[in-house]
């Protein structure tokens, strides 16, 4: 409640308003306290103060009733909007609004009153404009003609003089009298420095320090007549034609027809249009609910419309019409860009379609808009883990790790992510240990072989040399090789199988090169950990190796089957794959983690790479696997093929070297920070790899020998007992055949999941034409 304002009003309207206010506003505590004190007639403070003004009082009972009824609104503090105390510059442009001559000019107020009011209202810091009337040695006098800021008054006829003392005239050159620059009659703009209201005297200054800060940029000093304020020029015009009415001047002004004039003046007067004032109780916009505004309603409506579309989309999705579903989701997002449900649904669809990155984008956007959305969080976690699995598959372990970590950051209780992360860590370490162990084993085997069958070794070395020579000579293309390999078996099916086998080799080669990369990284990271202490990765010695060898065994077993009754196996294998794919036809739930995932994986592989035979799903296994199988392959085939295999082997090594070279720049960029084991691991990796590739070159003959020795075992195995094979490969190979099944189950769940979904997607793809 603005007491001063109320007092001002009471002063004007007298005791009748006071009594009306008392009766109208007696419920209002603010008024009660205010008027209560005035209730005692003796103390009625303002009313008796100006008895002389009593006759001036407006005794309009209607207005007084109005005031008393609306007093709480009229005298509310919130209405004091025009609080800006700054006196703005009068440099308004003609086109903004109709700049009018001063009101007093129309009202024809006597000069005496105008002069009195001028000295009442003028303030320090105001800009005045005047003509120099006389120049003295202590300064100059000027007669004011108009005001440049603050109030706009008609003062040109009031003969108000102001003194500008010498010390307030800035010098224009280093020497001489500063006043010599000025002449009588010059138009001067100056700031008011001092006012003597009683004696009606003004002192002005030409230094801009006399102006308030927001006007400081205005140049003081001599101005031209064009720089005179617009209102003054209008006022001069009016003087020459005093018959012109306010209305005519206003309506002929350019600014009056400006379409933006209302907005401009509202801003100038400090009226807020976004929160429009009203004296109606029902129109107090502060009482309006935010929810009732058009924008809020539209948003709500759009959201529900979008939700409807999402529902339709979900129905489409359920019956497998994914394109229609996607259309509905996109429509929903068009209607309501930030619709969380639509984003989640579309993300789920993307995830189902295998576009995991797009899915993650959608889920993340949904979570951004609604951080508490449970499904969005859940799906995002799952998709992140899946994507991580994919990346793991692509050997991007650090990326995969970051995805897992992201998922864990979203949901600490999400065990899948934790499992996957642990598995990844374990796996990284495992393969690293495997690498070490292999190196160890090679070393061991080398020595062992030399000791036990030196004779054989020599023989094999010889053969190796011969092979090498031949390989260099040989220029036959791989296609000729593939057409001639397995020529021993004459049937057409065998040739096709050899094709297949050939492909397998190719594949395995590339995979092995990749796996070697992995090994390297593992090796280096373990190196780091070794440096720090062993306790981080206390792994059973046997696990990796056994894992590996089991696989080998399966491979070998398959190989054997392949080799012995050729056409039959072919059929058998085909049968098996068709079976696998059919088992995968059974629709698996999204995100379901079933045991038959390997089947679906296999089926996927068969479908994707149609002629590919059983492909090991862990590349690391290949590393040794490949060698066994390829070597056995060499053995049974002609020299040419052997050369081919060898060449490939060499290429393999080269590729690895190349790879290590490729790694160098990337790892070089990594700062060797001890804080992150990944980083240091990487940089170490580089050295390790160099060493590794070097050592590989060094060990090549021995390795070859060892492999060939293995191969010898294979030959024998073909002929007869399995016991020989086990004997040759060492004691760490378990003999039980059900091991691979367990291995399958041990595969990272997320991988299985992905394969599941991919299979499902493939299946759906296949089914779609039928639906349509």
């Amino acid at each position: 409640m603005d007491r001063d304002l109320l007092r001002q009003s009471l002063n004007c309207h007298g005791p009748s308003l006071l009594s009306l206010l008392r009766s109208e506003q007696h419920d209002n505590p603010h008024f009660r306290s205010l008027l209560g004190s005035a209730a005692e007639p003796a103390r009625g403070p303002p009313l008796q103060q100006f008895p002389g003004r009593k006759e001036k009082r407006i005794d309009n009972i209607e207005i007084q009733q109005f005031i008393s009824k609306k007093a709480d609104l009229l005298f509310a503090l919130s209405w004091k909007s025009d609080a800006q105390a700054v006196s703005e510059v009068n440099e308004d442009h003609e086109e903004h609004y109709a700049v009018m001559p001063p009101l007093e000019q129309f009202m024809e107020i006597p000069s005496m009153d105008r002069r009195e009011l001028f000295f009442r209202d003028v303030e320090r810091g105001d800009i005045v404009i005047g003509r120099i009337s006389s120049i003295r040695e202590f300064g100059f006098f000027m007669v004011l003609i108009c005001l440049g800021s603050g109030i706009m008054r008609d003062i040109s006829h009031l003969e108000i003089t102001a003194l500008c003392p010498l010390r307030d005239v800035p010098p224009h050159s280093n020497h001489g009298d500063p006043l010599s620059y000025y002449q009588t009659g010059d138009i001067i703009r100056a700031g008011i420095k001092d006012i003597d209201r009683y004696h009606e005297k003004l002192a002005v200054s030409l230094y801009s320090s006399s102006l308030p800060p927001h006007l400081a940029s205005i140049k003081l000093g001599v101005i031209t007549s064009e720089e005179l304020p617009l209102y003054y020029r209008k006022s001069v015009e009016l003087d020459s034609n005093s018959l012109e009415s306010y209305e005519n001047i206003m309506q002929s002004s350019l600014g009056f027809v400006n379409p933006g004039v209302v907005e401009y003046l509202l801003g100038k007067l400090g009226i807020d249009e976004s929160n429009p004032p009203s004296l109606m109780r029902g129109l107090q916009s502060k009482n309006f609910s935010e929810d009732d505004y058009a924008s809020a309603l539209r948003k709500k409506q759009s959201a529900s419309w979008a939700l409807k579309c999402v529902k339709i989309g979900v129905d489409y999705f359920k019956v497998g019409r994914h394109v229609d579903a996607m259309n509905e989701y996109n429509k929903a997002l068009e209607i309501d860009k930030q619709n969380v449900e639509a984003l989640v649904a579309r993300g789920a669809l993307y995830a189902t379609k295998g576009s995991l990155n797009k899915a993650i984008e959608d889920f993340e956007l949904a979570l951004e808009n609604c951080p508490t959305h449970r499904n969005a969080r859940k799906y995002l976690c799952q998709t992140l883990v899946e994507r991580g699995g994919q990346l793991e598959e692509e050997e991007k372990f650090l990326n995969a790790e970051s995805y897992y970590k992201k998922a864990l950051a979203l949901d600490e209780t999400f065990t899948d992510a934790e499992d996957a992360l642990q598995k990844l860590h374990k796996y990284m370490q495992k393969s690293l240990e495997l690498r070490e162990k292999q190196a160890e084993k090679e070393e061991k085997q080398k020595t062992k072989k030399i000791e036990t069958s030196a004779e054989k070794l020599r023989k094999l070395l010889k053969e190796e040399k011969r092979l090498k020579k031949k390989k260099r000579k040989s220029t036959s293309s791989s296609s000729s090789v593939s057409s001639t390999d397995e020529s021993a078996s004459s049937s057409s099916s065998s040739s096709s199988s050899s094709h297949r086998r050939h492909k397998k080799h190719k594949k395995s080669r590339s995979e092995s090169s990749r796996s070697s990369r992995r090994h390297c990284s593992k090796a280096s990271s373990s190196q780091v950990d070794d440096d720090r202490g062993e306790e981080y990765y206390p792994l059973p010695i046997n696990t990796t190796a056994s894992f590996l060898n089991q696989k080998q065994e399966v491979e070998k077993f398959l190989e054997k089957q392949d080799r012995l009754p050729y056409p039959k196996t072919q059929v058998k294998e085909k049968d098996r794959y068709s079976l696998c794919s059919s088992s995968a036809e059974i629709p698996d739930d999204f995100g379901g983690r079933s045991e038959d995932s390997r089947d679906s994986y296999n089926s996927y592989k068969t479908q994707a790479g149609s002629s590919k035979t059983e492909k090991p799903y862990k590349s690391e296994r290949h590393f040794t696997n490949r060698r066994d199988s390829s070597e056995s392959f060499f053995r049974s085939s002609e020299d040419k093929i052997r050369n081919y295999g060898n060449r490939r082997f060499d290429r393999d090594v080269e590729g690895r070297k190349e790879h290590s070279r490729r790694w160098e720049p990337g790892s070089g960029r990594q700062p060797p920070s001890p804080a992150s084991s990944e980083c240091s691991g990487k940089s170490l990796e580089k050295y390790k790899k160099c060493a590794y590739s070097g050592s590989r070159d060094f060990f090549k003959p021995e390795q070859r020998y060892q492999l060939n020795a293995n191969q010898g075992e294979y030959e024998r195995e073909d002929n007869g007992g399995e016991d020989l094979k086990t004997e040759a490969l060492g004691e760490d190979r378990p003999s039980s055949k059900d091991q691979p099944e367990r291995v399958k189950k041990n595969l990272p769940q997320n991988l299985l999941n992905i394969f599941n979904q991919i299979a499902e997607f493939e299946k759906e793809k296949g089914n779609k034409p039928k639906n349509k």
Binding site: L5, Q8, S9, L10, N11, N60, E62, I63, Q65, L74, K80, S81, D82, Q84, S87, Y97, M100, P102, L103, E104, F106, M107, E108, I109, P110, D113, R114, L117, I151, M152, R153, S245, Y246, E247, F256, P259, V261, V262, E263, L266, L269, I271, E273, S274, P276, P277, L279, M280, G282, L283, F288, D292, Y293, A294, L297, R298, K300, Q301, S304, W305
Partner: protein
Amino acid sequence: MEGALRDGGGNPVEGQLAPPAKVHFRVTRFIMEAGVKLGLQSIPIATACTIYHKFVGESALDAYDPYLIAMSAIYLAGKVEEQHLRTRDIINVSNRYFNSGSEPLELDARFWELRDSIVQCELLILRVLRFQVSFQHPHKYLLHYLISIKNWMNRYSWQRTPISVAAWALLRDSYHGALCLRFRAQHIAVAVLHLALQVYGVEVPADSEAEKPWWQVFSDDLTKPAIDSIVSDLVHIYTMDTQVS
């Protein structure tokens, strides 16, 4: 159909029993409230109210649904004053006004029928008003008067007194009645300013010494009784406010 829009909340008897002035008061109140919620500025709201008052002045009250006229008037005013509105927003805000707390309508066939009726009614209004739907509002005049008064007044007393806000509020509220049709824009502006000054007990400096009172400067053909009659009408609008609601 538009009656269906306010099945829930509207007062069904008002059309038959209440005197026309009260119906118009309610409908213009609706226009103003909807205008605020639609983010309309003062001028388009004034135009919408003027269109409404002019339309109901030319046609029988019970011939059309006044609220439909109001909705179309808002839509038309938006076009006239270059602050275009979407019918969807108008329908949403109106629906919420009639059935407070209700959910926004579904965008079904009924919604589009409502929309069509607004557009059709807009054409009707245009024909009834003979396509004369642009008006001279007092707003512009009032603002210029305020600037002139401000320069003549002591700046501190101006800052202390919310004359411009009060005058603006009075002017906006004046559209509850048909003042805009009965008086010249300049006269309404002066009357509003006069009332605002009186409410706060502010006098124009040296007005008694002047040859011409300030209000006559702004409009030559204005007389003191004319101002008083407008002020009286204005005050009456506020008494109606208490009677209606």
